[in-house]
Symmetry: C2
Subunit: 202 residues, 2 copies
DNA sequence: CCTACCGATCGGTAGG
DNA sequence: CCTACCGATCGGTAGG
């Protein structure tokens, strides 16, 4: 949202990405036309090509600029806490506040998986994996109240908890189940997860 | 896979759905052309329209015929076990053997969410939700060794565990993390989940 | 940044 | 008269 670049070109580029993001999330990648993006961004079709050489570059740009992982990694790295429980709670709440309550962002990853066979996601994971795994390795070594869990599985299940929550959130959205579901479901997910990885306290 | 209809028309219809499923999973819905589907199915483009009136009808047909939920619901309903742990393990292993080890099937749901805004998925959940929720309500009432968890959250987190596993599986697939990850990760996920929902035994 | 277009390919349908 | 399917082409739109 914030920009260092106050140039007109930079602003137009951002407008194109914002417009495209809205449309991609709503209709998917291939179902969104360059003309729609141009209209939404408030310029002519040809004008887009002054900023992006093709459609996929707009998507890549969005992945780079808008993808949550840029905020996710620092949030986890910054998480602290005396106990493993405090650490996980800290990391989880930091992530949720970064990702927001809307599950829309997760659609970006789905588009990625379906339309590009996870090409960008794979690159992303190669970049953040080596930074993230040591955090969980340290957690396993230092925190005595953790059950014995493989660090990679600990990391994977922690990330997986968010997918578990957000994907089911998407499915429940327009169904009667939404009324039955408690409002604080995410906290309950974290609670179940914590019981899953911590030693019983008694 | 099995058909009652041995008619030629029924077989061709199946061949079209099989071909489309492969292509949809590989390239997505909009990136797959009717011509590709025709080629893959071994007939001419025009021939498709004797069996489906348009492209979306092919997708709907696949959802109806090939969607895992048709097998998922019976698998969960058939799960048994003396304790909650036995029940969850039974249901989990039944599901995994039904879904197979390939995470591909999950892409069908992602295409659904992205290209059709979860239109079919919502209908599906309205159908199976009322059948599935009572299973978890009964589980909460009967099994004493369960922690106090809202039935809807119990159901959601159980389903979510599969998304957690399969989505992360998709992301890890082509990265170095695949080597670090234990082979029996799914069992470890179930293990964490069970510790999450069960009372400590000591 | 726009207007005007291109090669090609899209989903869908014609008559036979 | 039906089914299943063909070669050819329809009106529009894709990315560029």
């Amino acid at each position: 949202m914030k920009e260092e670049t106050i140039t007109k070109g930079g602003r137009t580029r951002q407008a194109i990405e914002d417009a495209a993001l809205i449309l991609f999330l709503e209709h998917g990648y291939h179902a969104t036309s360059m003309r729609q993006i141009a209209d939404q961004a408030g310029l002519a079709l040809g004008g887009i090509y002054n900023h992006f050489s093709n459609k996929e570059e707009i998507f890549s740009g969005i992945i780079m600029d808008k993808h949550p992982y840029k905020r996710v990694l620092p949030a986890i790295l910054a998480a602290e806490g005396e106990t493993a429980e405090d650490f996980i709670r800290s990391a989880a709440s930091a992530l949720v506040s970064e990702l927001g309550n809307q599950p829309d962002f997760i659609k970006l990853m789905f588009i990625e998986i379906i339309e590009f066979n996870g090409k960008h996601a794979s690159l992303m994971l190669r970049e953040i994996g080596p930074k993230l795994l040591p955090v969980f390795e340290r957690l396993v070594k230092v925190r005595k109240n953790l059950r014995k869990i493989h660090p990679a599985v600990l990391m994977r299940s922690f990330i997986g908890m968010f997918f578990s929550f957000y994907v089911t959130e998407l499915f429940i959205a327009d169904t009667p189940l939404k009324k039955v579901m408690p409002k604080d479901s995410f906290d309950l997910f974290v609670d179940i997860y914590l019981h899953g990885i911590l030693k019983p306290e008694e």
